[in-house]
Symmetry: C4
Subunit: 231 residues, 4 copies
Amino acid sequence: MLEKLKEEVYRANMDLPRYGLVTFTWGNVSGIDREKGLFVIKPSGVEYDKLRPEDMVVVDLDGNKVEGEYNPSSDTPTHVVLYNEFPNIGGIVHTHSEWATSWAQAGRSIPCYGTTHADYIYGEVPCVRNLTKEEIDEAYEKNTGVLIAEHFKQLDYEAVPAVLCKNHGPFTWGKDAHEAVHNAVVLEEVAKMACRCELINPHVKPAPQELQDKHYYRKHGNNAYYGQIKR
Amino acid sequence: MLEKLKEEVYRANMDLPRYGLVTFTWGNVSGIDREKGLFVIKPSGVEYDKLRPEDMVVVDLDGNKVEGEYNPSSDTPTHVVLYNEFPNIGGIVHTHSEWATSWAQAGRSIPCYGTTHADYIYGEVPCVRNLTKEEIDEAYEKNTGVLIAEHFKQLDYEAVPAVLCKNHGPFTWGKDAHEAVHNAVVLEEVAKMACRCELINPHVKPAPQELQDKHYYRKHGNNAYYGQIKR
Amino acid sequence: MLEKLKEEVYRANMDLPRYGLVTFTWGNVSGIDREKGLFVIKPSGVEYDKLRPEDMVVVDLDGNKVEGEYNPSSDTPTHVVLYNEFPNIGGIVHTHSEWATSWAQAGRSIPCYGTTHADYIYGEVPCVRNLTKEEIDEAYEKNTGVLIAEHFKQLDYEAVPAVLCKNHGPFTWGKDAHEAVHNAVVLEEVAKMACRCELINPHVKPAPQELQDKHYYRKHGNNAYYGQIKR
Amino acid sequence: MLEKLKEEVYRANMDLPRYGLVTFTWGNVSGIDREKGLFVIKPSGVEYDKLRPEDMVVVDLDGNKVEGEYNPSSDTPTHVVLYNEFPNIGGIVHTHSEWATSWAQAGRSIPCYGTTHADYIYGEVPCVRNLTKEEIDEAYEKNTGVLIAEHFKQLDYEAVPAVLCKNHGPFTWGKDAHEAVHNAVVLEEVAKMACRCELINPHVKPAPQELQDKHYYRKHGNNAYYGQIKR
């Protein structure tokens, strides 16, 4: 079942080591079939060089495993919440990629210092607070999703397709698994350059709003003119 | 038309990922035929592993597309201005290479801290100011070129073949597309070492002028003696 | 003798350059057969690309060479002490991996700043003091092991499978040679991200204890639920 | 003539890009035949992927080209002085390797922060002063060698096989071209870790003298016991 989606999610998962975003099994990608209300996700703790398309696990939007030999990723309850709360996304990525995770560990949102960031993410990449002991004990992975969704009530999740979980790491999303991985790569580059630019100039300020707007809207929305696609 | 130039510009574009200067489609190279007054540039938003020589777009010095299936790079108007204002250059490169972009985001010119820099670039790599909202709204990419050209009225663009655009990234140029890429690689190395050398010694000063002169002029001008070329 | 263990230890040694943990011969892995009371270790100063399984050296728990054409690693006496003092470990790794060694040179223990760390190591990675001149002169490598064992009287060596020796470098261990290498990779990632996260936020605090506990215990102990293994 | 030495020096030159120590043509290796009083060096400005053993240039100890189609490296006069002043060395390397050059640009000697450094280099890696304008104008490359030799009157050049030239870059040497490259790799690792360890602990002190002695002398001199070589 969902063979095409499994293949797609498998390939998106394999892109994580290819782009240098994961060590060992420290990451997972999922992709959803919105019509069927089912998503496909990497099995927990299986090494990338042993992974096969047929190992992908099918899960429903209540978090029940529907098909699959393996247990789904231990982060599955986070994916469930995000798919329910963000109706327009089709794929989700979680990694411990080194630069984004360093910002998450530092507990800081990533300011928008330049057009590389503004081309993909409108405004800063938020870092959400730690879960409380109660929230952890009750349902750690689910409440990670709840916290993210809560935070994005003030934000447009389509314009800001990334978040940092304090002392943990990043989640990114997109219209499908492939775009979610693309955004994970963007986030890593942006996180790296933001750190270095603060080293070069400790008093650096975010890029002017008009420059952020220009770059974001030359790639997104009705007046976009970057690339080849007719809109 | 311009088949040889297309091949050359294609190859220069492919050198960007080879040297680690671009992620995804974040860069473009152009090269000009001065006699015909036409230049060749990468199409906008096309991925490097799908790029072919015949995909290159031909543009005239008024910025009109003369030939090509695709839209030219969205940065084409910047290239147009630079070719018009810098009559001795034959190639231009724009990237978001990570170290040069970090300096651009930091809004700082790169001081000449050593001979690696002085071998290729005479004096600091300037960082030009942000465009105003009016300049952005009027014609963002064109005015980026106008701003650079304005800044270089005080500088020798042949001796300083690189610039940083604040909160954006670098442009480099050279006598042809190949040399422009070469200078983009030099800039990246120089930007990396300048950041690290400030970490190692926060009170570091630029290299003495006589050392900068020695290295620049042993490679450039009538008394150059580096390499094999008779001058 | 011990052919299977030699093959296993050989392969674990070859993983060190593969994971970028060693330059030249700067590292060694050993693995033990607890029933026989013998361990197998890399020969001293032999380059990785010339290493063969049959070059591994067999040593007993008094540090005597039992079999092998070559001298065992000069760090063998450290391994001897650790195998005697830590009865549940099956493999040991020593490297000069760049980030862990930078922390060792800095003389600082690595705080637990996030879940990547907490997933594998419970609490900070300790940095033990320098040996005194007397300890060095008496038996440098042996006393390195004695110092580590002494320090771990206050710690659970199974929950903290890594240590830094001041001005020297890291040792890691695990249930076998393979897991010891795995922990060496984890340590390097953790060391890298801890340095960067302090650059991003000089006032960063360790991850909350409840988050550290959650991650450590979702992978270890009776209530673990990460991965596929039934416990 | 000197075919074997040319092959050896060619291979040592090719090791520079292999170890990531050079970009483009920014480095050169030479090796000497002490009996004949002739050394072999890379030609100036020739790219590594076009280099062949027969392109190596033969130079005598007065700096005269004895054989070769190409001009020798522009740094040849520095090599001449070092071979004359350091009678026990057999090979010399110059690079602009990124970390060593960052220290050179910072104008700081590299303190011995750990055993990786002490295993190969006894005490700090000195950074020599800038040449004066007069010294540059008179004979830049020769006077670079004179300055290094002058500095080493207070040091044992066999125990400290590396130097940094302020605002320029490193030179290393060894008993032959191969060992000189080996020391260039060591220097780069040591320079990288020294910078990072100062970031981790800005108040870091050099390794205790007794630890430096222990590591240096377990690899060098009559009581060495590292590796397999009988002394």
